[in-house]
C-alpha cells in the first residue's frame, strides 16, 4: 500500500468527517487535473483520448482542468472528443498516462485499486445515463448500496432522508421498475450522495429523460451545489449548460474554450456543437 492509500484506508472508518475536514483544510479546487494525457493502444496504434499538441505542433500537451467547491461544470463536445475519458479521470476510474490529478488537494494520480475505491467511496458520487439501479433492491436499498459492505447503522436513515430531499418520500420501498425515468435518476442521485461526497460526476444525466424531467434533475444538481458539493456533468444536452456555472468544450481531447460564467454568448456555439454531436452519436454509438 502506498502512503495515500493508507490515508484513505484509515479514513474509511470515519468517512463522514473526511469531506468537512478536507474542505476546511483545503481551500483550493475539489478536483484538479494538471497536464493530464490519456493514450491507449488499440490494434497496434496509439490513440490519444485526452491531450493534444502545442500550437507549434512539436510538443505533446495535456489537459488542465479544475472544479471548485459548489461549482456546476458542464463538459460538452462531439462524440469521441474525450468527454467520457475526462470524466473517468476525474472519477478515479481510469489512470492518466501522463500528468497529475488531485482530489481535495491530495495527489491521487496513481493509487492502487483498493485506495482508489476508498477515495471514490468517500469523496465522489456517480450518476449515469442508464441509472444502473439494481432491479432487485428497493429505492432505499439502492441508495444504501455504496454502504452495504460496511457497518453503517445510520445509512438507512440517511438514504430515506436523501430520497425525501429529492422528492421521493412516497417511493421509498418501490423497486426500480415501479419508478419513472425521472424518479430512477433521482434515486441514482440520492445514491451518489449517500456517502456525502465532495463532488458529483454525471455522465449524460438527462440523456434518457424528457425536457421537463431533465430540468427537474438539473434543478436538483443546482441545489446540491448550494451545499458546497461540486457537480461535473458530461453531456450532449444544451439544457445542461443553461444550469451550469461554466461550460467546458472538448474537441479532439483538447479543451477549446472556456466560458467564465456559464450561459451567455457561448450558448449558440454549444447548441451547434450539440446538433452536430447528435448526428455523429447516432452513427457511431447507437
Amino acid at each position: 500500500m502506498t502512503d495515500q492509500s493508507a490515508t484513505f484506508g484509515a479514513e474509511s472508518e470515519s468517512n463522514a468527517d473526511f469531506g468537512e475536514e478536507a474542505v476546511s483544510a483545503h481551500d483550493g479546487p475539489t478536483l484538479e487535473l494538471r497536464g493530464v494525457r490519456k493514450e491507449y493502444e488499440t490494434g497496434g496504434e496509439t490513440v490519444v483520448a485526452l491531450g493534444g499538441r502545442s500550437s507549434e505542433g512539436d510538443e505533446l500537451t495535456g489537459i488542465d482542468f479544475s472544479v471548485a467547491p459548489g461549482e456546476f461544470v458542464a463538459i460538452v463536445g462531439p462524440s469521441g472528443s474525450g468527454k467520457s475519458t475526462l470524466l473517468n479521470m476525474l472519477g478515479l476510474l481510469d489512470e492518466p498516462t501522463v500528468g497529475e490529478r488531485y482530489l481535495l488537494g491530495r495527489d491521487v494520480t496513481t493509487l492502487d485499486d483498493e485506495a482508489q475505491t476508498n477515495a471514490r467511496k468517500e469523496a465522489i458520487g456517480f450518476v449515469f445515463q442508464d441509472f444502473y439501479l439494481i432491479p432487485t433492491l428497493s429505492a432505499t436499498e439502492n441508495v444504501e448500496l455504496p454502504t452495504i459492505f460496511e457497518n453503517d447503522p445510520e445509512a438507512t436513515e440517511r438514504a430515506r432522508d436523501l430520497l425525501r430531499r429529492v422528492g421521493l418520500g412516497d417511493r421509498l420501498d418501490h423497486t426500480p421498475n415501479e419508478l419513472s425515468g425521472g424518479q430512477k435518476q433521482r434515486v441514482a442521485i440520492a445514491r451518489a450522495l449517500v456517502n456525502e461526497p465532495r463532488v458529483l460526476l454525471a455522465d449524460e444525466p438527462t440523456g434518457n429523460l424528457d425536457q421537463d424531467t431533465g430540468a427537474q434533475i438539473l434543478d436538483e444538481f443546482r441545489r446540491i451545489c448550494e451545499t458546497g458539493v461540486s457537480v461535473v456533468a458530461v453531456t450532449h444536452d444544451p439544457q445542461v449548460t443553461e444550469f451550469a456555472d461554466r461550460t467546458v468544450r472538448l474537441v479532439d481531447g483538447v479543451i477549446r474554450d472556456r466560458d467564465a460564467d456559464g450561459a451567455g454568448s457561448d450558448v449558440v456555439d454549444v447548441r451547434a456543437g450539440a446538433g452536430e454531436n447528435a448526428r455523429s452519436e447516432s452513427e457511431a454509438d447507437r
Partner: protein, 378 residues
C-alpha cells in the same frame, strides 16, 4: 424489507438468485441430483457392507485346522490335537471333531447325514429343544433340517449304521456361516466312531486378532519340519468380502461423483452468464466504492448458496430414501441408523458445497476484476 447489514454479501447474493428463479433452481437441481446420488449410492454400498458383516459376524474369529491331505496326512493325531488345544487355551476354545457320513433312519424314513464326533458340543452349537451336555457321552444330537425331515424330537430313537441312539437334543438352525453346519447332521460322542483320530479342530478365538495369532502359532508348531496340517482362517474370507465391498463402493461413488461434476459445470455456466448479464451493475458497485473483494465475496456466496440449498435438499432426500430402505427391505434399524451413513450424508453435502464454490470462483473473480470503466461501457 430492510437490508440485513450483518450479512450483506449473503443478502445481495440471495436477491440476485431470486431474480431468475428458474435458472437458479435448475442450477441447484444439478447439485441436488449430484449430492443425492453420492449420498444414496454411498449409503447403499455401506448398508450392503454392514449387513454382510453383521450376517457373517463371528466367523472372522474362527480357524479350522485339518490334516494336510496333499502330503498324505489323513487325520490329526492326539499329540497334534493337544498342541492345538494348548496354543488356544486362554484365548478361545479348540474343539476337535471327527466327521463321517452315514444313513440315518427311524420308523418313518431314512436320510443321509453327516456325522460329527464332538465331546463338547456346547462350544459350537445351541439347542432349540432339549439341553446340550457339557460332556457328550451318549445319545444323538440332531440338526434342525434332519429333525424336520425325519420328524424327530427329544426322546425319538434313530438308527445309525445298525446302532440305535436316543435323541437328546435338537439343534437350532444355523444362521451364520460356520465351519461346521450341522443342520443336516448328527452329533455323536467321539467314542462311537471306529477311528480315534480327529479329522479337524475348530478353533473359536475370543477376537479376530487372537484367531490370527493362534493360526500363526499352530503353523509354527505343527508345520515346523513338514506340512502336517492345513490352517484355514475365516478372517481371510471376511477380508476378501470387505475388499469387494470397498471396490463396489468406490465404483458407485465414482459414478455419483460424475453427476456432481456435471452439476459443478452447470453452476459455472450459470454464474458466468449471470455475471456477464450484470456487468453494468457490478461496474456501478465498483464505481460507488465497493471493493473488489466484496464483489468477489458476494458472487462466490451466490454460487455457494446454490450449492448449500441444493446440497441440503439432496441430503434430506437421501435421508428419506435410506428411511425407505429400512421400511421396505430387510435392512435392520441398527444398520440404517449406523453413524457411517450419516458420514456419507454430510460428506456428500460438503462435497456439493465445495464443488459449487469452486465452480463460482472463476466467474466471480473475472467479474470482480473487470475494470469498472469497461463494465459501465456496456
Amino acid at each position: 424489507m430492510k437490508l440485513d447489514r450483518r450479512f450483506p454479501a449473503v443478502l445481495m447474493a440471495w436477491r440476485n438468485l431470486d431474480r431468475n428463479r428458474l435458472r437458479s433452481a435448475l442450477a441447484a437441481l444439478g447439485i441436488v441430483i449430484g449430492v443425492l446420488a453420492i449420498a444414496t449410492l454411498g449409503i447403499f454400498g455401506n448398508v450392503l457392507q454392514l449387513s454382510a458383516t453383521n450376517e457373517l459376524g463371528a466367523i472372522g474369529n474362527q480357524v479350522v485346522v485339518g490334516p494336510n491331505q496333499d502330503a498324505g496326512v489323513t487325520s490329526l493325531n492326539t499329540r497334534e490335537v493337544e498342541t492345538i488345544q494348548q496354543l488356544t487355551s486362554g484365548r478361545g476354545t479348540a474343539v476337535p471333531l471327527i466327521s463321517d457320513g452315514a444313513v440315518v433312519s427311524n420308523g418313518r424314513g431314512q436320510s443321509f447325514a453327516t456325522l460329527y464326533g464332538i465331546s463338547t458340543p456346547t462350544a459350537l452349537f445351541t439347542a432349540s429343544e432339549g439341553t446340550l451336555p457339557d460332556r457328550h457321552r451318549q445319545g444323538a444330537i440332531v440338526g434342525s433340517s434332519l429333525a424336520d425331515r425325519l420328524d424327530l424330537q427329544v426322546g425319538s430313537i434313530v438308527d445309525i449304521e445298525g446302532n440305535e441312539y436316543r435323541v437328546i437334543a435338537v439343534l437350532a438352525p444355523t444362521e451364520d456361516i460356520s465351519p461346521v453346519s450341522p443342520d443336516d447332521g448328527v452329533v455323536l460322542p467321539p467314542e462311537e466312531f471306529v477311528s480315534d483320530e480327529y479329522n479337524q479342530v475348530v478353533i473359536r478365538a475370543d477376537s479376530g486378532e487372537a484367531a490370527t495369532d493362534i493360526a500363526a502359532s499352530v503353523r509354527e508348531q505343527l508345520n515346523a519340519r513338514e506340512e502336517r496340517v492345513t490352517v484355514f482362517e475365516f478372517s481371510t474370507i471376511l477380508d476378501q468380502i470387505g475388499e469387494f465391498f470397498a471396490l463396489l463402493n468406490s465404483f458407485l461413488l465414482g459414478l455419483a461423483g460424475i453427476s456432481l461434476v456435471v452439476a459443478g459445470v452447470s453452476i459455472f455456466n450459470v454464474m458466468l452468464m449471470s455475471t456477464s448479464e450484470r456487468r453494468g451493475e457490478i461496474g456501478v458497485l465498483r464505481a460507488v466504492g465497493v471493493q473488489k473483494g466484496d464483489v468477489l465475496r458476494m458472487l462466490v456466496v451466490e454460487a455457494a448458496l446454490l450449492g448449500t440449498v441444493g446440497g441440503a435438499l439432496g441430503a434430506v432426500l437421501s435421508g428419506l430414501i435410506t428411511a425407505g430402505l429400512y421400511y421396505f427391505t430387510p435392512v435392520t434399524l441398527a444398520v440404517a441408523l449406523d453413524p457411517s451413513n450419516g458420514l456419507y450424508l454430510v460428506g456428500a453435502f460438503v462435497f456439493g458445497v465445495v464443488v459449487s464454490l469452486v465452480s463460482g470462483l472463476y466467474p466471480a473473480w473475472k467479474a470482480a476484476n473487470e475494470p469498472p470503466v469497461e463494465a459501465l461501457r456496456g
